[in-house]
Symmetry: C2
Subunit: 199 residues, 2 copies
Protein backbone atom coordinates (compact mmCIF):
# COMPACT_ATOMS: atom_id res chain seq x y z
CA UNK A 1 0.00 0.00 0.00
CA UNK A 2 0.97 3.62 -0.55
CA UNK A 3 0.31 5.54 2.67
CA UNK A 4 0.54 9.30 3.28
CA UNK A 5 1.51 10.10 6.87
CA UNK A 6 0.77 13.74 7.69
CA UNK A 7 2.66 14.86 10.76
CA UNK A 8 5.49 12.45 10.07
CA UNK A 9 8.04 14.58 11.93
CA UNK A 10 6.08 14.45 15.23
CA UNK A 11 6.59 11.86 17.96
CA UNK A 12 3.50 9.86 16.95
CA UNK A 13 3.89 10.32 13.18
CA UNK A 14 7.52 9.23 13.17
CA UNK A 15 6.63 5.97 14.95
CA UNK A 16 3.66 5.42 12.61
CA UNK A 17 5.91 5.91 9.56
CA UNK A 18 8.39 3.36 10.97
CA UNK A 19 5.68 0.83 11.81
CA UNK A 20 3.91 1.12 8.45
CA UNK A 21 7.20 1.37 6.54
CA UNK A 22 7.92 -2.28 7.39
CA UNK A 23 5.34 -3.40 4.81
CA UNK A 24 4.02 -0.31 2.99
CA UNK A 25 5.35 2.57 0.89
CA UNK A 26 5.16 5.57 3.23
CA UNK A 27 5.00 9.16 1.97
CA UNK A 28 5.98 11.31 4.96
CA UNK A 29 4.53 14.83 5.09
CA UNK A 30 5.60 17.58 7.48
CA UNK A 31 4.36 21.07 8.16
CA UNK A 32 7.69 22.86 7.70
CA UNK A 33 10.26 20.35 6.49
CA UNK A 34 10.79 17.46 4.09
CA UNK A 35 9.91 16.86 0.42
CA UNK A 36 6.16 17.16 1.02
CA UNK A 37 4.69 19.87 3.23
CA UNK A 38 1.14 20.90 4.05
CA UNK A 39 -0.78 23.39 6.15
CA UNK A 40 -3.81 21.28 7.11
CA UNK A 41 -5.75 24.35 8.32
CA UNK A 42 -5.94 25.45 4.66
CA UNK A 43 -7.90 23.07 2.43
CA UNK A 44 -6.20 24.57 -0.65
CA UNK A 45 -2.83 23.47 0.78
CA UNK A 46 -4.27 19.98 1.38
CA UNK A 47 -5.55 19.85 -2.21
CA UNK A 48 -2.12 20.88 -3.50
CA UNK A 49 -0.47 18.11 -1.48
CA UNK A 50 -2.73 15.37 -2.85
CA UNK A 51 -2.42 16.71 -6.41
CA UNK A 52 1.37 16.24 -5.99
CA UNK A 53 1.25 12.80 -4.36
CA UNK A 54 -1.61 11.35 -6.41
CA UNK A 55 -3.63 8.24 -5.62
CA UNK A 56 -2.98 6.48 -2.32
CA UNK A 57 -4.33 3.53 -0.35
CA UNK A 58 -4.28 5.07 3.11
CA UNK A 59 -4.01 8.46 4.76
CA UNK A 60 -2.86 8.92 8.35
CA UNK A 61 -3.04 12.28 10.13
CA UNK A 62 -1.08 12.76 13.33
CA UNK A 63 -1.05 16.54 13.34
CA UNK A 64 -2.94 19.50 14.71
CA UNK A 65 -2.48 22.20 17.34
CA UNK A 66 -4.46 22.71 20.56
CA UNK A 67 -4.45 25.53 23.10
CA UNK A 68 -4.14 24.54 26.77
CA UNK A 69 -5.17 26.98 29.52
CA UNK A 70 -7.24 27.14 32.70
CA UNK A 71 -10.94 27.30 31.82
CA UNK A 72 -11.17 30.63 33.65
CA UNK A 73 -8.70 32.21 31.22
CA UNK A 74 -9.97 30.63 27.97
CA UNK A 75 -11.20 33.03 25.28
CA UNK A 76 -13.36 31.99 22.30
CA UNK A 77 -10.36 32.78 20.06
CA UNK A 78 -8.25 30.26 21.96
CA UNK A 79 -10.89 27.56 21.47
CA UNK A 80 -10.63 28.25 17.73
CA UNK A 81 -6.93 27.27 17.74
CA UNK A 82 -7.92 23.63 18.18
CA UNK A 83 -11.11 23.89 16.11
CA UNK A 84 -9.22 25.32 13.12
CA UNK A 85 -6.17 23.07 13.44
CA UNK A 86 -6.64 19.69 15.13
CA UNK A 87 -10.35 19.42 14.23
CA UNK A 88 -10.93 21.13 10.87
CA UNK A 89 -7.35 20.45 9.77
CA UNK A 90 -8.04 16.72 9.99
CA UNK A 91 -11.51 17.15 8.46
CA UNK A 92 -9.93 19.03 5.55
CA UNK A 93 -7.61 16.08 4.96
CA UNK A 94 -10.51 13.62 5.11
CA UNK A 95 -12.61 15.66 2.66
CA UNK A 96 -9.80 15.86 0.11
CA UNK A 97 -8.49 12.32 0.70
CA UNK A 98 -11.90 10.97 -0.30
CA UNK A 99 -11.12 11.84 -3.93
CA UNK A 100 -7.58 10.46 -3.94
CA UNK A 101 -8.06 7.14 -2.11
CA UNK A 102 -8.19 3.94 -4.10
CA UNK A 103 -11.25 1.72 -3.53
CA UNK A 104 -11.20 0.21 -0.05
CA UNK A 105 -8.66 2.76 1.18
CA UNK A 106 -8.62 4.24 4.66
CA UNK A 107 -8.32 7.49 6.58
CA UNK A 108 -6.94 7.42 10.13
CA UNK A 109 -7.29 10.52 12.30
CA UNK A 110 -5.85 11.35 15.72
CA UNK A 111 -7.86 12.21 18.84
CA UNK A 112 -6.47 11.66 22.35
CA UNK A 113 -7.18 10.17 25.75
CA UNK A 114 -8.48 13.48 27.12
CA UNK A 115 -11.56 13.03 24.91
CA UNK A 116 -12.65 10.57 27.59
CA UNK A 117 -10.50 11.55 30.56
CA UNK A 118 -10.50 15.33 31.06
CA UNK A 119 -7.52 17.08 32.62
CA UNK A 120 -7.00 20.59 34.02
CA UNK A 121 -6.36 23.14 31.24
CA UNK A 122 -7.86 20.69 28.76
CA UNK A 123 -11.35 22.03 27.99
CA UNK A 124 -10.44 22.64 24.36
CA UNK A 125 -8.53 19.35 24.06
CA UNK A 126 -11.46 17.27 25.32
CA UNK A 127 -13.89 19.16 23.07
CA UNK A 128 -11.74 18.86 19.96
CA UNK A 129 -10.73 15.23 20.45
CA UNK A 130 -14.36 14.24 21.07
CA UNK A 131 -15.30 16.12 17.89
CA UNK A 132 -12.64 14.29 15.85
CA UNK A 133 -14.01 10.95 17.08
CA UNK A 134 -17.56 12.10 16.27
CA UNK A 135 -16.52 13.08 12.76
CA UNK A 136 -14.91 9.68 12.17
CA UNK A 137 -17.99 7.87 13.51
CA UNK A 138 -20.33 9.84 11.22
CA UNK A 139 -18.16 10.03 8.09
CA UNK A 140 -17.74 6.24 8.21
CA UNK A 141 -21.38 5.67 7.22
CA UNK A 142 -21.24 8.02 4.23
CA UNK A 143 -17.93 7.19 2.58
CA UNK A 144 -18.26 5.53 -0.86
CA UNK A 145 -16.31 2.71 -2.56
CA UNK A 146 -15.53 0.80 0.62
CA UNK A 147 -13.47 3.68 2.00
CA UNK A 148 -12.94 3.49 5.75
CA UNK A 149 -12.25 6.06 8.47
CA UNK A 150 -11.14 5.55 12.07
CA UNK A 151 -9.57 7.60 14.84
CA UNK A 152 -6.71 6.64 17.13
CA UNK A 153 -6.81 8.02 20.67
CA UNK A 154 -3.30 7.90 22.14
CA UNK A 155 -2.56 8.49 25.78
CA UNK A 156 0.52 10.55 26.65
CA UNK A 157 3.69 9.13 25.10
CA UNK A 158 6.74 8.12 27.12
CA UNK A 159 8.73 10.23 24.65
CA UNK A 160 6.62 13.32 25.47
CA UNK A 161 6.67 13.12 29.27
CA UNK A 162 9.35 15.83 29.36
CA UNK A 163 6.94 18.42 28.02
CA UNK A 164 3.47 16.96 28.77
CA UNK A 165 4.24 15.02 31.93
CA UNK A 166 2.99 17.69 34.36
CA UNK A 167 -0.44 17.64 32.66
CA UNK A 168 -0.66 13.84 32.89
CA UNK A 169 0.38 12.95 36.43
CA UNK A 170 -0.97 9.49 37.21
CA UNK A 171 -1.61 8.55 33.58
CA UNK A 172 0.29 5.49 32.33
CA UNK A 173 2.41 6.66 29.37
CA UNK A 174 2.98 4.36 26.38
CA UNK A 175 5.95 4.26 24.01
CA UNK A 176 5.30 5.84 20.61
CA UNK A 177 5.75 2.42 18.99
CA UNK A 178 2.76 1.12 21.01
CA UNK A 179 0.63 4.04 19.81
CA UNK A 180 1.77 3.33 16.24
CA UNK A 181 0.27 -0.17 16.46
CA UNK A 182 -3.22 1.34 16.76
CA UNK A 183 -2.66 3.24 13.52
CA UNK A 184 -1.50 0.01 11.87
CA UNK A 185 -4.65 -1.69 13.11
CA UNK A 186 -6.71 0.97 11.34
CA UNK A 187 -4.65 0.98 8.11
CA UNK A 188 -4.22 -2.78 7.75
CA UNK A 189 -7.54 -3.75 9.34
CA UNK A 190 -11.06 -3.77 7.93
CA UNK A 191 -13.16 -1.89 10.49
CA UNK A 192 -14.59 1.59 10.02
CA UNK A 193 -16.07 4.25 12.32
CA UNK A 194 -13.93 2.98 15.22
CA UNK A 195 -11.88 4.73 17.87
CA UNK A 196 -8.78 2.72 18.74
CA UNK A 197 -7.57 3.58 22.22
CA UNK A 198 -3.77 3.44 22.44
CA UNK A 199 -3.51 3.17 26.21
CA UNK B 1 -34.22 29.44 41.54
CA UNK B 2 -33.85 32.02 38.80
CA UNK B 3 -33.16 30.19 35.53
CA UNK B 4 -32.25 31.68 32.13
CA UNK B 5 -33.51 29.52 29.25
CA UNK B 6 -31.79 30.47 26.01
CA UNK B 7 -33.71 29.20 23.01
CA UNK B 8 -37.01 29.45 24.86
CA UNK B 9 -39.01 29.86 21.64
CA UNK B 10 -37.80 26.54 20.18
CA UNK B 11 -39.57 23.21 20.60
CA UNK B 12 -37.18 21.99 23.31
CA UNK B 13 -36.74 25.36 25.05
CA UNK B 14 -40.48 26.00 25.30
CA UNK B 15 -41.01 22.65 27.02
CA UNK B 16 -38.03 23.28 29.32
CA UNK B 17 -39.44 26.69 30.31
CA UNK B 18 -42.80 25.08 31.11
CA UNK B 19 -41.27 22.25 33.11
CA UNK B 20 -38.93 24.51 35.13
CA UNK B 21 -41.59 27.23 35.45
CA UNK B 22 -43.59 24.95 37.75
CA UNK B 23 -41.11 25.61 40.57
CA UNK B 24 -38.57 28.19 39.38
CA UNK B 25 -38.50 31.75 38.05
CA UNK B 26 -37.75 31.33 34.34
CA UNK B 27 -36.23 34.10 32.23
CA UNK B 28 -36.96 33.11 28.61
CA UNK B 29 -34.49 34.32 25.97
CA UNK B 30 -35.00 34.15 22.21
CA UNK B 31 -32.84 34.97 19.23
CA UNK B 32 -35.26 37.33 17.51
CA UNK B 33 -38.30 37.84 19.77
CA UNK B 34 -39.30 38.48 23.39
CA UNK B 35 -38.04 40.84 26.09
CA UNK B 36 -34.57 39.27 26.17
CA UNK B 37 -32.70 38.40 22.98
CA UNK B 38 -29.20 37.12 22.31
CA UNK B 39 -26.95 36.08 19.45
CA UNK B 40 -24.98 33.26 21.10
CA UNK B 41 -22.40 33.22 18.28
CA UNK B 42 -21.24 36.65 19.54
CA UNK B 43 -19.79 36.59 23.06
CA UNK B 44 -20.37 40.38 23.35
CA UNK B 45 -24.10 39.76 22.83
CA UNK B 46 -24.01 37.04 25.51
CA UNK B 47 -22.23 39.43 27.91
CA UNK B 48 -24.87 42.10 27.24
CA UNK B 49 -27.65 39.61 28.01
CA UNK B 50 -26.19 38.58 31.37
CA UNK B 51 -25.45 42.21 32.29
CA UNK B 52 -29.19 42.87 31.77
CA UNK B 53 -30.48 39.79 33.59
CA UNK B 54 -27.95 39.77 36.43
CA UNK B 55 -27.19 36.92 38.82
CA UNK B 56 -28.94 33.59 38.21
CA UNK B 57 -28.98 30.08 39.68
CA UNK B 58 -29.11 28.12 36.45
CA UNK B 59 -28.55 28.59 32.73
CA UNK B 60 -30.09 26.34 30.10
CA UNK B 61 -29.14 26.55 26.43
CA UNK B 62 -31.36 24.86 23.86
CA UNK B 63 -30.15 26.78 20.82
CA UNK B 64 -27.67 26.57 18.00
CA UNK B 65 -27.67 25.98 14.25
CA UNK B 66 -26.23 23.03 12.33
CA UNK B 67 -25.76 22.43 8.62
CA UNK B 68 -26.98 19.09 7.23
CA UNK B 69 -25.73 17.79 3.88
CA UNK B 70 -24.29 14.66 2.29
CA UNK B 71 -20.65 14.24 3.30
CA UNK B 72 -19.67 14.38 -0.39
CA UNK B 73 -21.06 17.93 -0.66
CA UNK B 74 -19.81 19.32 2.67
CA UNK B 75 -17.42 22.28 2.52
CA UNK B 76 -15.24 23.44 5.43
CA UNK B 77 -17.39 26.61 5.58
CA UNK B 78 -20.50 24.49 6.14
CA UNK B 79 -18.83 22.67 9.04
CA UNK B 80 -18.20 26.09 10.60
CA UNK B 81 -21.97 26.79 10.74
CA UNK B 82 -22.31 24.28 13.56
CA UNK B 83 -18.89 25.03 15.09
CA UNK B 84 -19.69 28.75 15.34
CA UNK B 85 -23.30 28.35 16.44
CA UNK B 86 -24.25 25.14 18.24
CA UNK B 87 -20.74 24.52 19.62
CA UNK B 88 -19.06 27.88 20.28
CA UNK B 89 -22.44 29.59 20.85
CA UNK B 90 -23.02 27.28 23.81
CA UNK B 91 -19.40 27.60 24.95
CA UNK B 92 -19.76 31.40 24.85
CA UNK B 93 -22.77 31.13 27.15
CA UNK B 94 -20.91 28.83 29.53
CA UNK B 95 -17.86 31.13 29.67
CA UNK B 96 -19.97 34.19 30.49
CA UNK B 97 -22.44 32.35 32.76
CA UNK B 98 -19.55 31.36 35.00
CA UNK B 99 -19.35 34.95 36.27
CA UNK B 100 -23.10 35.40 36.76
CA UNK B 101 -24.03 32.12 38.44
CA UNK B 102 -24.62 32.05 42.17
CA UNK B 103 -22.59 29.47 44.14
CA UNK B 104 -23.72 25.94 43.34
CA UNK B 105 -25.46 27.08 40.17
CA UNK B 106 -25.62 25.06 36.96
CA UNK B 107 -25.17 25.27 33.21
CA UNK B 108 -27.08 22.83 30.99
CA UNK B 109 -26.13 22.55 27.32
CA UNK B 110 -27.78 20.70 24.45
CA UNK B 111 -26.18 17.99 22.31
CA UNK B 112 -28.25 15.36 20.49
CA UNK B 113 -28.65 11.65 19.84
CA UNK B 114 -26.60 11.81 16.63
CA UNK B 115 -23.51 12.36 18.80
CA UNK B 116 -23.75 8.61 19.40
CA UNK B 117 -25.95 7.43 16.54
CA UNK B 118 -24.81 8.95 13.23
CA UNK B 119 -27.29 9.57 10.42
CA UNK B 120 -26.88 10.38 6.73
CA UNK B 121 -26.16 14.10 6.17
CA UNK B 122 -25.13 14.36 9.82
CA UNK B 123 -21.32 14.51 9.79
CA UNK B 124 -21.35 18.03 11.24
CA UNK B 125 -24.14 17.22 13.70
CA UNK B 126 -22.29 14.21 15.15
CA UNK B 127 -19.04 16.17 15.34
CA UNK B 128 -20.61 19.21 17.01
CA UNK B 129 -22.81 17.30 19.45
CA UNK B 130 -19.87 15.13 20.51
CA UNK B 131 -17.83 18.31 21.01
CA UNK B 132 -20.55 19.89 23.19
CA UNK B 133 -20.55 16.77 25.38
CA UNK B 134 -16.75 16.85 25.55
CA UNK B 135 -16.78 20.48 26.61
CA UNK B 136 -19.29 19.77 29.39
CA UNK B 137 -17.24 16.78 30.57
CA UNK B 138 -14.04 18.85 30.73
CA UNK B 139 -15.45 22.15 32.01
CA UNK B 140 -17.08 20.28 34.90
CA UNK B 141 -13.72 19.59 36.55
CA UNK B 142 -12.57 23.22 36.37
CA UNK B 143 -15.64 25.20 37.41
CA UNK B 144 -15.27 26.99 40.79
CA UNK B 145 -17.71 27.55 43.66
CA UNK B 146 -19.63 24.30 43.25
CA UNK B 147 -20.82 25.33 39.79
CA UNK B 148 -22.01 22.41 37.68
CA UNK B 149 -22.30 21.75 33.95
CA UNK B 150 -24.10 18.97 32.10
CA UNK B 151 -25.38 18.30 28.59
CA UNK B 152 -28.75 16.91 27.54
CA UNK B 153 -28.82 14.75 24.43
CA UNK B 154 -32.37 14.66 23.06
CA UNK B 155 -33.49 12.28 20.36
CA UNK B 156 -35.85 13.63 17.68
CA UNK B 157 -39.00 15.18 19.17
CA UNK B 158 -42.51 14.04 18.29
CA UNK B 159 -43.25 17.71 17.68
CA UNK B 160 -40.42 17.95 15.12
CA UNK B 161 -41.18 14.83 13.07
CA UNK B 162 -42.81 16.98 10.38
CA UNK B 163 -39.48 18.59 9.52
CA UNK B 164 -36.87 16.13 10.85
CA UNK B 165 -38.77 12.86 10.44
CA UNK B 166 -37.16 11.88 7.12
CA UNK B 167 -33.68 12.09 8.72
CA UNK B 168 -34.75 9.91 11.67
CA UNK B 169 -36.61 6.98 10.17
CA UNK B 170 -36.61 4.15 12.71
CA UNK B 171 -35.71 6.38 15.68
CA UNK B 172 -38.25 6.46 18.50
CA UNK B 173 -39.34 10.09 18.91
CA UNK B 174 -40.10 11.51 22.37
CA UNK B 175 -42.49 14.31 23.31
CA UNK B 176 -40.77 17.62 24.12
CA UNK B 177 -42.04 17.34 27.70
CA UNK B 178 -40.03 14.10 28.08
CA UNK B 179 -36.87 15.84 26.83
CA UNK B 180 -37.57 18.70 29.24
CA UNK B 181 -37.34 16.28 32.17
CA UNK B 182 -33.66 15.66 31.39
CA UNK B 183 -33.01 19.41 31.65
CA UNK B 184 -34.86 19.48 34.98
CA UNK B 185 -32.68 16.59 36.16
CA UNK B 186 -29.60 18.69 35.41
CA UNK B 187 -30.96 21.95 36.90
CA UNK B 188 -32.51 20.48 40.05
CA UNK B 189 -30.01 17.64 40.48
CA UNK B 190 -26.51 17.60 41.92
CA UNK B 191 -24.38 15.82 39.30
CA UNK B 192 -21.84 17.49 37.04
CA UNK B 193 -20.02 16.51 33.84
CA UNK B 194 -22.90 14.26 32.82
CA UNK B 195 -24.70 13.69 29.54
CA UNK B 196 -28.39 12.98 30.11
CA UNK B 197 -29.82 11.03 27.21
CA UNK B 198 -33.43 12.00 26.55
CA UNK B 199 -34.41 8.96 24.53
Amino acid sequence: MKVIVIGATGAVGKAVAEELGQRHQVVPVGSRSGQYQVDITDIASVRALFAQVGKVDAVVVAAGALHFAPLADFTPEQFYVGLNSKLMGQVNVALVARDYLNDGGSITLTSGIVADEPIRNGASATMVNAAVEGFARAAAIELPRGLRINAVSPTVLEESMGSYGPFFVGFVPVPARRAALSYARSVDGAQTGQVYQAW
